[in-house]
C-alpha cells in the first residue's frame, strides 16, 4: 500500500514541479518567476523526503533541511533584488 | 564575547538545546553535554545579532496560540485548495489592517500568522509599523477581515507581548 501511495505521491509532486516550471517560464512578471522557483524549492524538499522513504534511508534529510534554508535565502535575495537592486548594502 | 557565564537568551538556549536533541536523533549523555555547551555558547556569540529582546509576558499562552494557528493552517489549506479547484474566479482585495501591536517581533508573528491562515497574505508592513497591508483572496468585507484577525490573533498576541 505504501508503495502505491508513494508512487502516486511522487507523481503528484512531480506534476506539481512541472506546473511550477510552467509558471516560471510563463511569468509574466519577475515576482511570478521567483514565486515559482520558491515553490519549486519546497517541492524539491518533498521529492527528497519521498526519495528517502523510497530508499528507506534518512541519508537525505539534511539535504532537505538545506534546501529549505537555501531556498528561503535565495528567494529573499531575489525579492530584495527586484525592489532594491542591491541585495547587500 | 563571552563576558558572562550565563544564558543571555534563556528561551533561545532552550530552543537550541531541544533542536540539538532533535538533530542528534535521540537523547544521550554526549548529546546532552554538547547540547548544553552549544545552548550556552551560541547565544553568547550571536547575542549582538538579536538586539531587540522578545518580551514575553504570558509565555504559557504560546502553545495554545501555536496549536490554534496550526489548526487554522490546515483549515486554510483546505479553503485555498477549494478556491483553487473551484471554477469560480475569486474576488481578491487589499485590506489595510490597523496594528495595535508595536513590538516588531509581535508584528512579525502576527503577519506570519495571517499569511498562513485562511485566505489572507500579509503583503506589507507600513514604515511606521502602524498598518498591515493584507491581500485577501476572496473578500467579504474589509471590516470582517479586520475583526476576525484582531480577535483570533492580535488580541492573544497583545496579551503575550508587552
Amino acid at each position: 500500500m505504501i508503495t502505491i501511495a508513494l508512487y502516486l505521491t511522487i507523481a503528484m509532486v512531480t506534476l506539481a514541479a512541472l506546473l511550477n516550471v510552467y509558471r516560471l517560464i510563463k511569468g509574466p512578471d519577475e515576482p511570478d518567476r521567483v514565486l515559482a522557483i520558491d515553490t519549486l524549492y519546497i517541492n524539491a524538499i518533498a521529492l527528497i523526503i519521498l526519495l528517502g522513504i523510497t530508499l528507506s534511508t534518512r541519508m537525505y534529510l539534511e539535504s532537505a533541511l538545506l534546501i529549505a534554508v537555501m531556498g528561503f535565502v535565495s528567494t529573499v535575495a531575489m525579492a530584495k533584488y527586484l525592489k532594491r537592486g542591491s541585495v547587500i548594502e | 564575547m563571552f563576558d558572562r557565564l550565563s544564558f543571555p537568551q534563556p528561551w533561545l538556549s532552550l530552543i537550541l538545546f531541544l533542536t540539538w536533541q532533535i538533530l542528534s536523533d535521540g537523547v544521550s549523555g554526549g548529546s546532552v553535554v554538547l547540547g548544553v555547551i552549544l545552548a550556552w555558547l551560541i547565544p553568547q556569540m550571536t547575542q549582538g545579532f538579536w538586539p531587540e529582546r522578545p518580551a514575553f509576558v504570558k509565555t504559557w499562552r504560546m502553545p495554545g496560540y501555536i496549536l490554534r494557528v496550526l489548526k487554522d493552517i490546515v483549515a486554510a489549506s483546505f479553503s485555498v485548495a477549494w478556491l483553487i479547484l473551484s471554477p469560480r474566479t475569486p474576488r481578491p482585495a487589499f485590506v489595510s489592517y490597523p496594528l495595535q501591536l508595536d513590538h516588531p517581533l509581535a508584528i512579525s508573528i502576527l503577519a506570519s500568522t495571517i499569511s498562513l491562515t485562511p485566505g489572507t497574505v500579509s503583503a506589507d508592513v507600513s514604515d511606521d509599523n502602524k498598518t498591515l497591508l493584507i491581500h485577501v483572496l476572496d473578500a467579504t468585507s474589509d471590516q470582517e477581515v479586520i475583526e476576525a484577525i484582531y480577535n483570533s490573533y492580535e488580541k492573544p498576541l497583545m496579551e503575550m507581548f508587552r
Partner: protein, 933 residues
Amino acid sequence: MSLPLVVLLPFLGAIAAPLFAQGGRTAIAIASSVPALIALAALFPHWAVLSAGDTVLHTYEWLPALGLSFSFRLDGLALLFALLILVIGLLVIIYSHYYLKAKENVAKFYSLLLCFKGSMLGIVLSGNLLLMLIFWELTSLTSFLLISFWTHKQDARRGARMALAITGGGGLALLAGILLIGNIVGSFELDDVLAASEQIKAHTLYPVALTLVLLGAFTKSAQFPFHFWLPHAMQAPTPISAYLHSATMVKAGIFLMARLYPALAGTEQWFYMVSFTGMATLLLGAYIAMFKHDLKGLLAYSTVSHLGLITLLLGMGTQLAAVAAIFHVINHATFKASLFMAAGIIDHETGTRDMRRINGLWRYMPHTATLAMVAASSMAGVPLLNGFLSKEMFFAESLQLNLPGLWAWVPPIIATLAGIFSVAYSARFVHDVFFNGKPVDLPIFPPHEPPRYMKFPVEILVFACIMVGVFPAVSVGPLLFSAASATLGGDVPDYQLAILHGFNLPLLMSFLAFFGGLLMYTQRRRFFDFHAQLREVDGKAVFEFAVSEIEKLAHRFTEWLENGSLQRYATLLVVSVIAVAAMPLAENGFHIGENGLSPVDWPTGIAAGVLVVSALATAFWHRERFYALVLLSVVGLVVALTFARFSAPDLAMTQLSVEVVTIVLLMLALYYMPSWTPMESSQGRRIRDALIALAAGTGMTLITLAMLTQPFSSISEFFLENSKPGGGGTNVVNVILVDFRGFDTLGEITVLAIAALGIYAMLKNTALTPPPGDGLGHPWTRDHYPLMLRQIARPMLPLALMVSVYIFLRGHNLPGGGFIAGLITSVALILQYIASGMIWTQDRIPFRYHNVIGLGLLFATIAGAGSLAFGYPFLTTTFGYITWPVVGKFEVASALVFDLGVYLAVIGATLLALVSIGRLSPHSAIKSKKESA
C-alpha cells in the same frame, strides 16, 4: 694556453678600458693597446711551428653534447689574419685617439672595438666550427654597436640595423651549413672537417651545406646581392670603417671561404657559385664606386669590388688563384685601411666627405695627400706597390680559367674592365680631392694637416704598401707561403713574388686597365651622365622597404587575428576541442558499451526534462538577465536533486549551498550591470554559435553515453575498505576529502582563500555607480530592511550555527562536513547582511574575514603538519576513541581539525567576497576604524 689568451685578452681589455676612463683618453688608448701587444707577443713563439707547416692546437672541453669545444687552432692562415687584426687594430687605436672628439664616449668606443677585435681573433683562431660561429655572430653584434656608435644619427642606426640583419642573418645560414657539415663529418673540429673533404663533397646534402656556408660568407663579405649593407655601414666613425671594412669584418667571409677551402672547394658548385658571385660583385662594386660623391662611399664600393675580386679568385679553384686571393687580402687590408684613415683625416679637417666640395687639398695638407695618393695608387694597381702584385696575379689567373669556347674570354675581359674602373675611381679619389681647383664651401676652412701622430698609422700602412710592392718576397713571402699552405691544405703551388714577371698578357691587361682607367676618368662627365640615366636600385631602400612592409604586414596580421574578442578565442578553443575529440570517434566509430542501457523511471525522466528545458531556456532567454538567473538556479536545484537521486548526498548538499551563494553573488553584480542584453550578434553568428554548441553538446552526450555503458572498476575499493579502519570515518567521501586526498582539499581551500583575497584587492579602489532603478524604469524602493525579514533573520543565525555544528560534527561519518557547515554559517550571515545591512552586521562581527581565512588555512596546515612531529608524512591523520563519564565514548580525530580549517576558510572566503561587492554599494560606505587602519 697562449691561443685562448690571445682571444681572451681583448675582451679583458674591453672590460678594463672603461676602468681607465678616469685617467683620460690617453690612458684608455694605452690600456686598449696593451692586449694587442701582449697578443702579438704571445703569437710570436708559434712561428717556428707554423713555418714548419704544422698547426698549434689548444683544446678544452665545453659542451660535448653539442660537439662544441674551446678549441683554438693556429696555422698560417690564422696567423696571417690574426696579425692583420692585431696590427691594424693597434694602428686604429692610435688613429682613433686623435680622431675622436673630446666629448665622445671614448671608453665605450675602445671597449666595443676591443670586443670586436676579440671576436675577430676568435673567428680566425677557432679550431671548432661551432666556436667559430659563436665568434662570427659576435662580430655581427659588436659591429652593429660600432657602426651605430653615433646613435644620434639616423643613418648610422639604420646602417647598423641593416648590417646586423644581413650579416647576422647570414650567420644563421652559416650555422645551418656548419651543422650540416658537422652532421656529415660527425665532428665540428676543424681538423676533422678539413680531413673529411671527400666525405663532405660526396654527401647528398653537400650542395645545401655549401650554399648555406656561402650565404654566411657572402653576406659577411658584402658579396652581390648582399653588398648593399656595406656602404651604409660607412656611417660608422672612420676608424671603425678603416678597421671593420678593410681588414677585419668583411674579410671574415673571405677567411671562412679560405678556411673551408680544402673541405668545400674544388667542385663545380663551388666554382660557379663563388666565382660568379665574385665576378658580379667585382664589377658592380667597381662600377658604382666610380659614381660616389662621398669619399667613404667610394671607398666602400671599392671595398665591395675588391672583396668580389678575392672571392672570384677563391672561386676559380686553382691553387695559384688561392694564393693570389690570400695575397690580395693582405694588400687590400693595408691600402684600404690607409685610405680610410686618410679619408677620415680629410673628413676630420674639412668637416665633409663630399668630393664635390673637397677640392685642391694638396695645397692645404700635402703630407696627407702624398700618403693617400700612394695608397690610392696601390688600389689602382700601379707598379711598385703591393696592389699591383696581387692584381697581376689575378689577371694571370683570369686567363687560366678553363671555360669552353668564347666563355674563356669573359673572365679576362671582366677583370680588365674592373681594373679600368678601379683605376678610374682611384684617379678620381686622387684628382678630385687633392687637385681639381679650389674647395667649395667647406665647413672647416682652411683645412690643416692633422696632428702629427694621427698620420702615423697611415704612414706605417703606406710604408707597408711600398715595402710589399718592392720587396714582396722578403716582406710577406714567408707569411704568405704559410697562409697559402694552410689554405690549400699544405699543397702550395710554385709561385714567384717579384716586382715584375716580365712582359706578358697580365701586364698588358694592367696597362690597359691603367690607361683605360685614366681615360675613363677624363671622360667622367659622359659616364656620370650615362649613370644618371639609370634608375638606381638601392639595396638599402629595397631592404628597408621590405622590412617596414613586413613589420606593417605583421602588425596588421596580428591585429586581425588577435582582435581582442573573447568570442573568437573561445570559439577557437571550443572548436579545437570538438575537433580533437571527434577524431577518435571518426576513426573508430561510436559504440555503446557492453553494459547497455538501463530503464528510466519517470520521475527521474521528468526531472531530467526540467533540467534540459531550463538549461536550454537559460541560453535562449539569456538577454533577460534576471530571468536567466532564475532559470539558472532551477538548473542548479535540479542538479542537486540529481546528485541526491544517484547516491551522492554530500554532493547534493554542497551543490545546493554553493548554488545559492553563487546566485546571490550574481545578483550583487547584476545590480551594477545592464539588466538586459541588447541583441548584438548577427543571425549568422548566432546560428554558427548554436551549431558549435550543438556539436559540443552532442559530443559530451556521446562521450557520456559511451562511458556510462562500459563496465568499470576503480581504486575506490580501497577507500571503501579503509575508510573506517584507516580513516576513522564511515562517510567515505568525507574521509577521502580530509584524509585519503586531503591534499586536494588543502589546495581547494587555498584556491577559495586566494580568490577571496584577490576579489578584495580587486575591488579595493573600485567605484561603480549603480543605476537609479531597475531596467524597466522603476526607481529602487527606499525600504532597505523590511521588518518581517529582519525579525526572522534574528533567530536564524543561532539556529543556523547549531545546524552548522551538527553538520560539521557528523561529516566524518554521515553526509556533511566542514565545507557544507561553513556554507550554512556563511549563508546565515549573508541573511543578516541582506536583512539588516552592511553596517549593522559588520559592527557585530568582531573579526576581519582575512584573519578567518588565514586561520582556516593555518588550522588545516597545522592539522596536516602535526604528523611530521611523529615522523609521518604531511596530512597523516590519527584518531582514537575516548570514554568520558556522562558523555560516553566519542571519537577524536585529527581530521576534524583539518575540517575545522576548511570550515573557517569557507566562511572567511565566502563572506569576504560577498562583502567586498556589497561594499561597492553607496549605502554601505563603511568607514569604520577597522577598515581604514
